[in-house]
């Protein structure tokens, strides 16, 4: 607490749960207070700028002591002033800062995405109710044997941060969680057990060419390429198409393989179709993210071939 040499303010704890009781004492050693040697010393308490009543008594060694109890402290932050009257003025001679709040809330909905351009792992979560206290929040990242714990710290009060590549173990399970700590306690989110590659977010594939297969004009052949940087991956892709006036997409799933072609029949003749494709790693994890749908490509099928 604030000590003047001549006055010292002590509080039970500078940080308390919101609504709990606060006790404080102000002790004045008169012989150390120039100007307070003579006459009666009347100790006055102020909470921020509001007078509050304490109980004053003589303490050991000729000191004057005033105790104060605030039964329900419901300020998140306040200053407790110990004052005395002197030459007709109220002199502030001691002070203690008190903060009140809650233990940190459990961070929820932790999810991560691996950005394939720099292999940084960006994780997001929901912070929960404000604890009103300085709270340090850290994303923690441990190899499965948890020898080394790395991670990242969100900046500027955001609820996301990015673990740089050099702190990650790729192609192996890691444990990832958020830890929030303040003076009143610590809370941890669920622990994600994932291989960062399982949450890789791919760039969409690109539809290179679409042609009708000459003799069956209701079939088309489609050539596509995977996004740069994903050539080495086992991918699972999907194709969707529809004619402009169709409300619903036709979805073709289970296109496997790294790059290549796909064939599809049953198209109407002389009709313009809009095609899009997307891919994801065919890893076992349910968390795997689909890439965005690729930029669309239009293709108009042949008019019906003259029969006979």
């Amino acid at each position: 607490g604030g000590t003047l040499g001549c006055a010292s303010v002590a509080v039970g704890s500078p940080i308390v749960p919101l609504g709990s009781a606060v006790t404080a004492s102000c002790t004045i050693q008169r012989e150390l207070c120039r100007g307070l040697e003579q006459g009666k010393v009347r100790i006055i308490w102020m909470l921020d700028n509001k007078l509050v009543a304490g109980s004053q008594h003589q303490g050991p060694g000729g000191t004057e002591v005033s105790n104060l109890t605030l039964p329900r402290f419901n300020h998140t932050q306040a200053r407790l002033w110990c004052c005395v009257e002197w030459n007709g003025t109220k002199q502030r001679i001691g002070m203690a800062e008190i903060r009140a709040g809650y233990p940190p809330a459990k961070p929820l909905n932790l999810s991560c995405i691996l950005n394939l351009s720099d292999y940084g792992l960006t994780c997001r979560w929901e912070q929960g109710t404000d604890s009103h206290l300085p709270t340090s929040i850290v994303l923690k990242c441990a190899g499965s044997r948890a020898q080394v714990v790395t991670g990242c710290t969100p900046q500027g009060g955001h609820s996301h941060c990015t673990v740089p590549r050099r702190l990650l173990q790729l192609y192996r399970q890691m444990e990832i969680w958020v830890s929030a700590t303040n003076a009143l306690g610590t809370a941890e989110s669920e622990h994600l057990r994932i291989d960062p590659m399982d949450v890789a977010k791919l760039d969409p594939p690109t539809l290179q060419s679409i042609q009708s297969i000459p003799f069956q004009t209701d079939c088309i052949a489609l050539a596509w390429d995977v996004a740069r940087g994903t050539e080495h991956m086992e991918l699972q892709c999907e194709l969707r198409y529809r004619a402009p006036e169709d409300p619903a997409w036709v979805l073709v799933t289970g296109i496997i393989g790294r790059a290549g072609t796909a064939q599809r029949c049953g198209f109407l003749f002389g009709t313009q179709y809009h095609f899009q494709m997307r891919c994801r790693r065919s890893s076992a994890s349910a968390l795997a993210y689909w890439s965005e749908w690729s930029p669309g490509r239009n293709y108009t099928t042949h008019e019906k071939a003259p029969t006979g």
Partner: protein, 177 residues
């Protein structure tokens, strides 16, 4: 020529007009810092802190030769420069107290250094002897035994500096016609 006879000298008058405004600017920035100390630490009224002040050794620069009765322009200029240097150093206490306002404190220190070198150059232009201070300020910073005394120390550094600026301003205005 003693400074007071220079009231007609155009360069000297230009120097005075410029640095009267500069002093007003610095005074305004110090007032802004005082408002921050009041809002942040609830330390607003000097008369409520007189007891505590008796126990704190806070920088205070006196300008004896700048007061009307004992006005001596050349010495007054040197005392203003010496005072600016003392307060330049003790503003570091304010920067520690108010990390969120470091930019305002640094601007204030830059302005104080500029004002001091403006005065120095004008004195040299008038052929007066001047002191050149080392750029880095080696004076040890005062230490405080508690956050409360550190905050009250900061309050009084600013209060003393405001009075210093007001005296210096009156001296410059006395020289300007």
């Amino acid at each position: 020529a003693p400074l007071t006879e220079l009231s007609g000298d155009e360069d000297f008058q230009l120097f005075l007009q410029r640095n009267l405004e500069f002093t007003r600017k610095i005074h305004g920035d110090v007032a802004a810092l005082q408002r921050v100390v009041c809002d942040t630490f609830q330390l607003c009224k000097e008369e409520e802190l007189l007891l505590v002040r008796q126990d704190l050794d806070v920088a205070q620069a006196l300008l004896e030769q700048c007061h009307k009765r004992t006005f001596q322009a050349e010495t007054c200029f040197s005392q203003i420069r010496a005072g600016l240097r003392i307060y330049h150093g003790s503003l570091a206490t304010i920067r520690d107290l108010l990390p969120g306002h470091a930019a305002l404190v640094e601007t204030l220190q830059l302005d104080m250094a500029n004002l001091s070198s403006n005065i120095q150059q004008q004195m040299e232009d008038l052929g007066l002897a001047t002191v050149t201070y080392p750029t880095e300020n080696q004076d040890p910073l005062p230490t405080f035994s508690s956050r409360f005394r550190h905050q009250v120390g900061g309050f009084f550094i600013l209060a003393n500096f405001q009075r210093f600026l007001e005296t210096a301003y009156r001296a410059l205005r006395h020289l300007a016609n």
